[in-house]
Symmetry: C2
Subunit: 683 residues, 2 copies
Amino acid sequence: MPAKKWRLWLRFTIAAAILLPVAAAGEPIRSLNLMPVPEQVALNPGRLRIGSGFTARLSGHQDPLLVMAMDRLRGRLQAKTGIPFDTIPEDPGSKQAVMQIHCSGPGEPVQSPAADESYRLAVTDQGARLEAPSPIGILRGIETFLQLIDLDGQSFFVPCVEVTDRPRFRWRGLHIDVSRHWQPPEIIRRNLDAMAAVKMNVFHWHLSDDQGFRVESRKHPKLHQMGSDGKYYTQSEVREIVEYARQRGIRVIPEFDMPGHSSSWLVGYPELASAPGPYRIERSWGAFEACLDPTREATYVFLDAFVGEMAGLFPDESFHIGGDEVDPKQWNANPKIRAFIKKNGFKDSRGLQAYFSRRMQKILAKHGKVMIGWDEILHPDLPKSTLVQLWRRQPSPAELAGKGYAGILSRGYYLDAMEPASFHYGIDPMGQEADALNSDERSRILGGEACMWAEFVDAQNIESRIWPRAAAIAERLWSPPGVADVEDMYRRLNSLSRELERLGLRHRTNYAAMIRRMAANGDAALLKKLADLVIPTRLGIRQRSQSYTSFTPLNRMVDAVPPESETARRFDQSVKLLLSNPSNAGVIRQVREALTGWIEDEKQARPIMEQSYLLTEIRPISETISELCLKGLQALDYLESRQSAPEAWRKETSALLDRAGKPQAEMLPAITASIKRLVEAVD
Amino acid sequence: MPAKKWRLWLRFTIAAAILLPVAAAGEPIRSLNLMPVPEQVALNPGRLRIGSGFTARLSGHQDPLLVMAMDRLRGRLQAKTGIPFDTIPEDPGSKQAVMQIHCSGPGEPVQSPAADESYRLAVTDQGARLEAPSPIGILRGIETFLQLIDLDGQSFFVPCVEVTDRPRFRWRGLHIDVSRHWQPPEIIRRNLDAMAAVKMNVFHWHLSDDQGFRVESRKHPKLHQMGSDGKYYTQSEVREIVEYARQRGIRVIPEFDMPGHSSSWLVGYPELASAPGPYRIERSWGAFEACLDPTREATYVFLDAFVGEMAGLFPDESFHIGGDEVDPKQWNANPKIRAFIKKNGFKDSRGLQAYFSRRMQKILAKHGKVMIGWDEILHPDLPKSTLVQLWRRQPSPAELAGKGYAGILSRGYYLDAMEPASFHYGIDPMGQEADALNSDERSRILGGEACMWAEFVDAQNIESRIWPRAAAIAERLWSPPGVADVEDMYRRLNSLSRELERLGLRHRTNYAAMIRRMAANGDAALLKKLADLVIPTRLGIRQRSQSYTSFTPLNRMVDAVPPESETARRFDQSVKLLLSNPSNAGVIRQVREALTGWIEDEKQARPIMEQSYLLTEIRPISETISELCLKGLQALDYLESRQSAPEAWRKETSALLDRAGKPQAEMLPAITASIKRLVEAVD
């Protein structure tokens, strides 16, 4: 549709519009549930009513992708409203609200980082119009439209808005490690659904590591046959997932980690290794010594055939070779490899890895692929065409761009670190030296990727570790940098979490199911109230707390509870409100009731904890929480009576807070900071 | 395994066993969560510990069915415990508890009602042994084993038991109508999973009716093309579902309703009708006039080809032709049909239907099928080989058997009637004259079928209408007739409901999702507390309350809440306890707190109800509930103070109870009977 016609269509609506770039003001979106926040949103008065007669129509460029998107739109509308839009109406001529979807041109044959994802959505009380230059923009706009659907006393509706939108970064990824714990295809599909809902566009599939090789290879069948315990994606499953992603505007980038992290390759092909075998599938976590031998030509013959085969499965232009955490021990211990390093004048093993990277880059180029690797592959000899994924402290995005490489940021986006969403939300892909970058350098920072490493996630809890937190990262990568209100982010994140549930995500239902399992025949709802008051410790502490392997059941409380506690976050808001206005009787009562209730819950839950071996370990932390609540109540008493607290109480309280700061059963109380606030306010 | 060896294996365990036939005593099962209750259970002291090392091994007769069952057993064990049994252990020689599964012979090529479903399960603290004469018995035994898994302070475990089990009836069915509302394949599969969990063995698939023809027919493609709105099962989907059922020991019986209930056939093939067309897919409920013409040979040519095609899709020996609710209007209005009736000496239209049934019986026999029909097909001329499904008041099972027909009972098992599980549980397939039956007659009563008619169920709420209630019917059909303790049935039904959730059933999650939808951005947990206090009215009232069609959204509270309220059932138990022992202060406090809490909930939920159009209609009933609670509290006051109530209070209360007995928004308060109990106890 030409711009002129578009303008004509908007004629009646623009007059009343409060046109504000969100980045600047933020206010108009406060009442909307959009995530990520669009580049520009204008909220107009009025509502488009959504009832049985609502229909959507396609016009402009024809593409099967759009027809499939319309089918999903219908299904999603039905799931959201319960109105059977999929039943063919008796009287198609009746008065109906219409969503006109107009795509003005084709997309790329294979989606690339250059894809145009922009769209415009205008909703009046008469109808909606979604327009985009290419099918992928339409996909993005449909998600915005669906997020806008709300309910009032009259009907379902979409507020009258004008949205002009496009992403800030072209690379908005989610990385999932399926090697350390296997994830069946349906879980990958659910994650792709969720990614599409928050407009992410790259699924980075970590398909091999020391603990498993997860793709069927027909060229080298011992890779999956001996390296996977039978848990791998067949080629037809891979094709289905790649197609599923394509329909949602998501690129799929396979990663085969090499030359390190390669134990699972070497179980079937020990001849590729730098030290004699035999090798086995590793069962514990950490980095291992197993390493491909970069000095033998046979290694490259093998990899050439392998890349050729995988290139046929994964149409994306990018191919990730890992390259992280190479342990040089095997190389240094092998006289032939030492000799090779010397003969070629490499300074050290890093020079040998750079040689390997260059060889891989040529193989990949031969098969039409761009190479990506983790930041360890950086080396003066690394071709500038290589994409670099930053995960370590150094280099910064600015340093990388300054060296002439394009890259994506994952440092600060590690979901397995178990940080709150607000932490990730505060990390900008441009890094802290963004202002010092020139426009060329800026253009080389393509975006970022949330990373879900899988030491502590299995098929039951992976969704609650990724979602909804990854949506905060998705917003950071899509929305203007000024969109940074953490409170509003959490409000929208909660709304999005419900949206994801409707999409079939199990981040909440599996949490509830795990609680039910632990409660055995006891009251699971009561146990959940306690569970909502604890959070898992950060990754590092957990790694050191016991010796985990892939056989260790992940069925404990620490595996079930979400990385952050919404209950505790809300409680903390009340506490802050109370402290800013100590005469607010309503808030005081609210805080008091919460604390009293939790003490009572803990008391009541004790018999449940006794009868289930999975709960034995949480008794100490639940007692600590009960004590924290008691101290909180006492602090309230002092505050209300304006008395100062005796020294003994202060000492006792300080000891308790110290105790609460130490992990118990690999968890921490989620309300410690709030109690500390209350205690510190006492005179 | 020969009986001798089995006995040997039990040698050490029988000594300590409390061997009691459950039907006689019932006590041993009170602590178990088995549903249906087995024919014989002996509970021994001791527990078999289930940990990472637990394995199951197959011996005896080899059958792919068993290999698939072992795979599912592993997956179910993992889902139930969170222990990764599917990871291949490093050291298979380590000490492990073993479940030995021994199948001593083959099953039937195509499962029939004669299938041997018996099994024996013996669990000691050292291991478990499951033995059955055929693979289907193994499937049944695996479900029993899974239901026995529990959790204590030490680990997951299975109590030491000896189970000897086989079904009381050979036909234990679930009938699902997919014509009035379409149900996608995944919902059928989930229902098959649930059926297998409660040992049901017949899926009766109601595939055509006035509102839709739901199977792809290649012989007569206008059936599904014009009769289904595009919502039909492809032949490959049918094959997949039949195979899915077969793997779970479930027969699949297709029903194509004829000669009435056939509007959807006639949209594409009006020439088969008894009156000139055109016909359309019906959108409302009730019986329609459309009827096949049984007087034309072309009708039978058409049906012969159709049955031949369907016989290739559905291997089961039975084929259901419906035959219910034939409206003779079209026949009587058609001079040619009237002449045919006269010429053949039929007494009336029922004689013509009997003629049609005989013709169909011959066509079915030609394709190797046994005919089944609803009880309207009964007629002196009906061949005795026909199976009759009883649904109307007459005839009784005894009458049917007395006439020499075999049959199954569905009267009393209609799930759409929205009766409580206890109602269905009280209906015996033998009927009330069971004692008068001789053994031949008894053997002709094959069992029964729970029926889910689909006027008021769509894909979102069908599971909460079928499950867990159908399990009460499954138990009635499997367990000895003496298993009849309603309280214990409900205890086990709740446990089963959790088991079904783990299997992936959505009867609870979809209820919660519908509540969340109605709550919009309000507190869904609060709204759910109110929702747990209402129940849908019985079917008849609902049918008369407004004009429903297939376009009517089923997104209201009446569509969401389960057919019976577990909250109200528990409350009623407390009230009964209170009244039987009015000095029990603990129970009085409990009842008082419940009533006070609900009054408070209703008050707090008012703003949520105002902001959502889906909740506007529930305000009156929620106010009624609040008033009921208030009256209950007042009654408690009178009871505690041993005062008699004034006449005005009695009048007021009686008026309120009357009001509460009338449907509001097609629902009823679930606590009315309990309040009435309290009120009536007041002097």
